[in-house]
């Protein structure tokens, strides 16, 4: 690698300067002004640094991915013991080998914890992680041959045979650099598909899958990443205080304390969490008289924050910002009459199916929930380039059939073919990635996130770079991310929503949310677009406009649409072919004219034989 053409960006220069001052300043200050920058104060700053790294590791799991962990202390402890073993036993490896071992063991253990967590949510995950913390604390950490139990291990700060960081200030320099590394990694997680996938899982797992996000994989990734950083922080802390035993990383002292840092700092708010960590590390030491009150204050803050702002400090800041923005921008107007044009998806019309066969073939699909048959042997075909309607009274099984097609529900029997290939065994995200886009009855978006973030999430399948590339934010990842942002901006512009780009989706009107949702489904240029009651909540004039947009999706964008709709006049006007579902089975099918005059359809809708509905 030559340095020719090496032109660091302003941000890289800033990082280099920060890193250099982290390395130079503590040792320099300790020697220049030993009276002020005492050994004890260097130790306290080191503790604060370790708190920041540890809190960020929990924030990644709990704040970003929404997976609660009340047992993170056990992961820190694992890291500290792993590092202790490598650096004190056997070959007595140097410090960095210990830190690497800590990362490795933290990652492995977190992976094992993450496996059952795939099936557990919320409170149940919290219970499982408490059980895990106690198992580690009471058993593994007390295992004499490995950890020497309460006698503990000494953790040396040896960089090489003759170089030991005996001074706290020197070790502080190293700790600061490690914490900076964790911070930068965190920044890269948030600005790439990793962070978006975590956020999407936190917000709504079904929506995440419809965006093509493999929730199993990303949940495990969150656990492994968080676990490796927790292991690293634990080892960093262990070498700082120089000694760990079975009680160092107890449930009371660490697992719960980290939850306080993350919640009080604000779930998912990197800066808030770091500030909280430094605050709780330094205040009791700066003011000797406060000794013992720090935890009381922390616990009180936690209770107070939860009682008044269940979203933590981040929510408080966010509310203030939103109020200011609301003053600047008038409230979003409701789209009553005309809907803007939908953005054109990238790429030409989808490849025609071989032999001109249907793009989607559903054969004999049956879905039951505990004995209740919701869909009973339904077969239908969706030819490419058409709009196909799926209608039926409430409870007829339309949405269940949609869920079976998109993979959210496992059918008991039957087969689903997409572009000639069976997708019945595929997961929902894999089907989304193949080109099946869908919307949900109750708006399938991450509603707490901004419009732009939703457009970026929706392009998950287009973000083709590895996790390593994401963590290091390589030029490849940067280039792809820039493309995704461009495409998101284009989509937002063509909707005319530039001023709402940073607005959380939940603050938009229902009609605006629906448009963003359909546009999100279109942005990955799916061959098949499945819309679940898109017109619900629209004014009549807007429904007409929506019908126009759907025809454009078919005629100008060349997409196929499968449409669940209650607005019969609209269905009859836009659909090429209609299937009617009643009590889980197909009641009728045909062109709009045929269906509209079908006596059984009329009975199903009106409860009795009546005059044919005019088309």
């Amino acid at each position: 690698m030559s340095l020719k053409g090496f032109a660091p960006s302003p941000r890289q220069i800033k990082i280099l300067i920060v890193a250099a001052s982290f390395i130079i300043l503590p040792p320099l200050l300790a020697r220049a002004i030993p009276g002020i920058f005492t050994d004890y104060r260097a130790l306290m700053l080191g503790v604060a640094t370790c708190y920041v790294a540890a809190a960020l590791s929990l924030n990644l799991l709990m704040g970003y991915a929404g997976q609660i962990s009340l047992g993170h202390g056990a992961l820190l402890g694992t890291g500290a013991f792993a590092s202790g073993l490598v650096t004190t036993r056997g070959p007595e490896l140097p410090l960095y080998a210990g830190l690497l071992a800590a990362v490795l063991f933290g990652a492995i253990l977190a992976f094992l914890v993450g496996l059952p967590a795939l099936r557990l949510r919320g409170l149940y995950l919290a219970i499982a992680t408490i059980g895990f913390a106690f198992m580690m604390q009471e058993s593994v950490f007390r295992w004499q041959p490995i950890t020497r139990g309460s006698a503990g291990l000494e953790l040396p700060r040896r960089l090489s045979r003759n170089w030991v960081l005996t001074e706290n200030a020197d070790y502080l320099a190293l700790a600061l650099v490690v914490a900076l590394f964790v911070w930068l990694l965190d920044v890269n997680v948030v600005r790439t598909k990793l962070g978006r996938a975590f956020h999407a899982i936190r917000e709504d797992e079904a929506v995440a899958q419809s965006f093509g996000i493999d929730i199993t994989r990303y949940k495990l990734t969150a656990f492994v990443l968080s676990g490796s950083l927790a292991g690293l922080s634990g080892a960093l802390y262990g070498h700082l205080i120089g000694f760990v035993n079975s009680d160092t990383f107890s449930y009371d002292a660490w697992s719960l304390f980290l939850v306080v840092l993350v919640v009080v700092g604000g779930l998912g708010n990197r800066k808030g969490v770091a500030v909280a960590a430094v605050f709780f590390a330094l205040t009791p030491r700066l003011l000797q008289s406060i000794e013992g009150w720090d935890l009381i204050i922390g616990a009180f803050l936690l209770v107070y924050t939860m009682a008044n702002h269940p979203g933590g400090f981040a929510e408080v800041f966010h509310e203030v910002r939103m109020k200011r923005q609301a003053k600047r921008d008038p409230a979003p107007e409701d789209l009553t009459t005309r809907l803007p044009k939908l953005p054109a998806p990238k790429g030409a019309a989808p490849p025609p199916t071989e032999g001109g066969g249907p793009i989607l073939e559903v054969s004999d699909v049956r879905v039951s929930f505990g004995g209740l048959v919701a869909v009973d042997g339904v077969s239908l075909e969706v030819p490419a380039g058409k709009i196909i309607g799926l209608i039926g009274p409430n409870g007829a099984g339309k949405t269940t059939l949609f869920n079976a097609i998109s993979g959210l529900v496992k059918p008991d029997a039957g087969d689903i073919k997409f572009q000639g290939e069976s997708v019945t065994a595929l997961s929902p995200h894999a089907r989304a990635a193949l080109g099946m886009g869908r919307t949900f009855q109750l708006i399938g978006l991450a509603k707490n996130l901004s419009v732009q973030e939703n457009f970026l999430m929706a392009q998950h399948a287009s973000a083709i770079y590895g996790d390593g590339s994401a963590l290091l934010f390589t030029s490849k990842a940067a280039r792809i991310e820039a493309e995704l942002i461009d495409r998101a901006r284009e989509a937002i512009e063509s909707l005319g929503f530039e001023r709402y780009a940073e607005t959380p989706v939940k603050n938009l009107s229902h009609g605006q949310q629906r448009l963003v949702e359909i546009a999100c489904a279109l942005i990955t240029s799916p061959s098949l677009l499945m819309l679940d009651e898109p017109s619900a909540g629209f004014a009549p004039a807007a429904v007409e406009s929506l019908a126009e947009r759907l025809k454009e999706i078919r005629d100008e964008l060349g997409r196929t649409v499968l449409l669940i709709e209650h607005n019969i006049p609209m269905v009859l006007s836009v659909c090429d072919y209609i299937y009617v579902l009643n009590f889980g089975s197909l009641l009728a099918e045909g062109t709009p004219d045929e269906v509209a005059s079908h006596p059984e359809v009329i009975t199903a809708y009106l409860g009795q034989a009546a005059q044919p509905v005019p088309a």
Binding site: A128, G131, E138
Partner: protein
Amino acid sequence: MGRVIVSGLANGGIYGLIALGLVLVYRGSRVLNFGLGEIGTFTLFVAWAFNEQQSWPWWAGASMALVAAVAIGLIFEGLVVRRMAGATRLAVAVSTVGLFLLLFSIELKVWGLSPRVLRAPIQGLGPEVFGFNISYTYMLAFAAVLGLGIALTVFLTRTDFGLGVLAASQDPVAVRLVGVRVATVSAFTWGASAFVSGLGAILIEPAIGAFSPGFMSLLFVRGLAAALLGGLSSLSGAFIGGVGIGLIESIIGRVFIGNQFPGIQSIAVFFVIILVLLFRPQGILGKSPA
């Protein structure tokens, strides 16, 4: 073996008591109270202050301590839980983690880390069964668990208010319609569960020896596992779950006797938790979800 069963039953009774406290609050407000165990520890410190420092008679100190426990439950319910009526249940659960830390840190500040010993209500070894002395405290604990369990069950199923408590989490509107105030129900469950936790702590402390801040954490995890085993919302399930965990623990302890690996019981409890969560989240007594 008889000895194993007797000690399992005795410990299990205490776990059942803690599980009962968890289930009460869970039924009333669909929240797990992670601070419940520490309310028990706090009760111990108050009882210790009265009994050992002020030399009050045992029952008087214990009563004052239980009053303090109930007060903590009621205050937390009134100041925090009620305000969070609209918040997610997980947020409320996190606030109870705050309750744990608040009590824990106050104990640290006021009494410090050094271990303390609380007198047993009745001194003496107690009768020998299967070569195992069942102390009078154990017997008292078991009697209290059974008595409390029966009394609570009768109260909850035979009175209007009790039925209101049972229905509160399912249908708050219906509860209001039969003339029971939802707020009163919530306060009752928090107060009662704090009482139960305090009583459990006072009864089990003599069997364990010394206590310090965080003393009840380990028992709390057992109680949590017991409540889970019973299905989180069943009162009788809590008790049976407690006895189940107690028995599993003492049998495992017996099987692995002399084993070098420490804390085998904690591993067993963890696996019970994981297996129940994964395969029978409705508990051993719960009906399978439709």
